[in-house]
Symmetry: C2
Amino acid sequence: MSASIEETNKLSPNYNQEGLITAIAQDAQTKEILMLAWMNAEALEKTLSTGQAHYWSRSRRQLWHKGATSGAFQHVESVLIDCDQDAVILMVNQSREGACHTGRRSCFYRQIDPRDATLRIVKE
Amino acid sequence: MSASIEETNKLSPNYNQEGLITAIAQDAQTKEILMLAWMNAEALEKTLSTGQAHYWSRSRRQLWHKGATSGAFQHVESVLIDCDQDAVILMVNQSREGACHTGRRSCFYRQIDPRDATLRIVKE
């Protein structure tokens, strides 16, 4: 990894072979992590230009304007990018519908018990 | 996606074709996101059994006990898994050395300016 990609002020996302970077949506107020998804160049551009989260749906293979069908929009306060520019954090205000397709606020609602590797629901 | 993988108490990680899931390390106290990395089955098992973060280094193609060479250990308080079981959050106590190889506490130290897509360092 070159020093430049880590210290530069130039945005140059390090897309993987599918043309994607990882995107984490984090609640701007509570700092709760809401979901993890993927972005292609268009999704990142749309997110920056509209202030609403756009992802790339790997299952549907199309641009995904989060909330367009569910109402669960994410209003983006800021976008952070990591050292090697292959992951971003969206600091968002999540609409009340919640981020998860199961109806929960966060997709990360289960905790792994390290003793027996079972899951326990810890968030409604 | 079946309902079972979302509601089951059985851990069954949905590894990608490289045998990996995504792992986010989040500071257990401040809720700051420290880094994003990858885990194979062995890394997840070692993390759960030792209480210290283990990842899979995609560049070195080997198990990576975070901190073993740098001193930047991550003591894991809990592990959360998402709805489709292809991503986990490690809630960690990060040793003072910081999570990022650049010496910073978090890898996400730059913010994207949406007006011109330049980067600005917002965390030391």
